[in-house]
Symmetry: C2
Subunit: 397 residues, 2 copies
């Protein structure tokens, strides 16, 4: 929690201003603010935005630092899941090292808050969780990391997994994860009852991966809604992906969206071009909290991505057919303040009293910054300078 004065910045693309951070929070935004012995950075007229927020990723599984992974995986979901467990064993993949690599790469791109899903399964037990927790500890002053204990290989189909998730929560994971209650576990009641019970026991929230499309996804969401009501967990249960909200049936999807509003269910997207996805503008209009993430990248699942949430804002914009400058600003908000709000952080914003997380980006306008996503000049986390010119100051292992 440090002090810093950033001079000659353009907050959110507006007029030139100085930004003073005191004790890690924004104390003042205005012209010609006095330096008074604090470190000073000159933004050179660059646009300042809040720290980027990656609300959905997998820090434990990228293959960053390894030679290119030749992907010859079969077409089914279970092919990919089984293959990943095998590759982890074959490589002896160290979740701490990999999560350090990815986190610091993301910090270089300006991300200051991450929600990561960490694989918990009966093959590897809690070792990935321990590795990511060590990364979180080492990067306390660099990037905030929130951990979801995630049953990637299934919960009901692999007995013992629920107990591991339960232990994960006791160890310090922040949220209980879920995954395709129908498609993966073939037992939506068993899956959802189990994760809600663990969450209630530990007084924690839930974040469910829901890839199920159309009516199947709608069914799983409905079963989730029933349990949110029964457990009084309004505002505590997020759904990631939620492809079913992008289905063409307007009446079905509007019913689901209205219930997300009523039960305060945040939706987290990665905006994959190949799938139907929740509409940014539609969810915003309904008042649904909405964030975005880079998802896993350079892993056994697929080759795309790099951790850059400014590039993700572009993909989110392209997927949602956003073309106007005011629409691009909306995409950026989802990738900064909006994502933080979806993660229950209320003061992650470029405003007095807001968290001192600032990124200086290149471009004449916010739109240009998003479209070109050039290397970030400066990244500040709670007043600490953590990256310059696209590189985190701390070296990657």
């Amino acid at each position: 929690m440090s002090d810093l004065l950033i001079k000659n910045a353009r907050p959110i693309g507006g007029e030139l201003a100085d930004i003073r951070i005191e004790n890690g929070r924004i104390a003042a935004i205005g012209s010609s603010l006095a330096a008074e012995g604090v470190p000073v950075e000159d933004a050179g007229g660059r646009i300042a935005i809040p720290g980027l927020v990656d609300a959905h990723t997998h820090l434990d599984k990228s293959l960053l630092g390894y030679p290119w992974y030749k992907n010859e995986v079969g077409p089914r979901l279970i092919d990919k899941i089984d293959n990943e467990r095998k590759v982890k064993r074959d490589y002896g993949l160290d979740a701490h090292v990999q999560s350090m690599r990815q986190s610091l790469q993301s910090v270089g791109y300006g991300t200051t808050l991450i929600r990561t899903h960490v694989d918990i399964d009966t093959d590897q037990g809690l070792i990935a969780l321990e590795g990511v927790m060590e990364t979180r500890r080492q990067l306390t002053r660099v990037v905030e990391i929130e951990i979801v204990a995630f049953p990637q290989s299934g919960l009901i189909r692999r007995p013992g997994t629920a107990e591991l998730i339960d232990r994960s929560m006791a160890m310090g994971a922040d949220l209980v994860g879920g995954l395709d209650p129908c498609g993966m576990d073939r037992d939506p009641k068993g899956h959802l009852d189990t994760i809600f019970a663990i969450a209630e026991k530990h007084g924690k929230g839930i974040d469910i991966h829901l890839h199920e499309g159309g009516e199947l996804g709608a069914f799983s969401m409905d079963m989730t809604f029933e349990r949110i009501r029964a457990h009084g967990m309004q505002g505590k249960v997020a759904v990631s992906h939620a492809f079913c909200l992008g289905a063409p049936d307007w009446n079905m999807t509007q019913g689901l969206i209205d219930t997300c509003t009523e039960l305060d269910v945040p939706i987290l997207t990665t905006a994959p071009p190949s799938r139907e996805v929740p509409s940014l503008k539609r969810l915003r209009a309904a008042g649904v909290r909405f964030g975005a993430g880079v998802d896993g990248f350079r892993d056994t699942w697929g080759p795309y991505g790099n951790g850059d949430m400014l590039e993700r804002a572009m993909l989110l914009g392209m997927k949602n057919n956003l073309r106007r400058d005011d629409e691009l600003a909306l995409a950026l908000d989802v990738c900064t303040t909006g994502g933080a709000v979806a993660m229950d952080r209320t003061r992650h914003a470029l405003e007095v009293g807001g968290r001192g997380d600032i990124v200086l980006v290149e471009g004449e306008t916010l739109g240009e910054a998003i479209v070109t996503h050039a290397p970030r000049k400066l990244v500040v986390t709670a007043g600490n300078i953590v990256a310059r010119d696209g590189k985190s100051l701390r070296e990657r292992p």
Copy 2:
């Protein structure tokens, strides 16, 4: 048409080899080829790919070189079209300067063959065509440019446009353009009869922008097929976008795809994340010629894009959910040789006898080259070096 020896390259990601170009064509690919007085370039082990092919763009309308265009355009297609004509007048946009800027930017990214649609309308007449033809003349040895005379503002709805298209063909445009026969001109019969008549008169091909989705697009394609048969224009009529081929109704789309195969109708995509698009693998399996392009970018239509066909290969892969390395190679083929084949160029390939268009890209594998799309080390057009380290040797105006 020059000679060049490229040493230590990895053709299409394979084993190290030298590539000798003589008189603009690939004369030999092998180990330790003799230099014999020709210029030599050392690829340093980089991957060599054929020249990238941008099979669908709009060279006359980017705003490259201007300050950021603040987009506040209305939501309808006609809002965008009317706005664009107004901005062109307000800016005094020079199609020659803009097409030089875009072409040379694309050359920096490794594009050696471009099909561009040039606006022909009753406001500006043939001035954009003249400008792009001048660019084509000046860049003869740098990049091959094929011109479609394109009725962006409508053909039937703006009397006099057909006559301008007719004159465009006499001036040297390569293909007759069409645009949404139902949605734009509200007269599919009139629109299609007119463009087929002009094409037949000049003995030229056709390339139709078809944004119409679902059943409407299917209807316009059917009407196009009828005229291909009637005029005996098999293999001479391409359809750009063809969003209707991505509609969910399998039977409807398969009927259209089978007819594309039968009548040899190439399909050209820009793989927009926000729309249903033709499936790469499905069209390839059906034997349909299939190319890709960057579409317009940084113009009054929208902010995204930069002219990079290697980035487009990534977007094509993401849109088509291609994850395996063999699938990524397919995406790259569409953006190189496949696109050229769709444009009737049969020897645009990295093979003996092929055109000496070579790009050296960064990456351990083809997949990494696509995913990272780092600046191109070297770009060669018919044996001439035209770009180094991401920049065309000829300066942009």
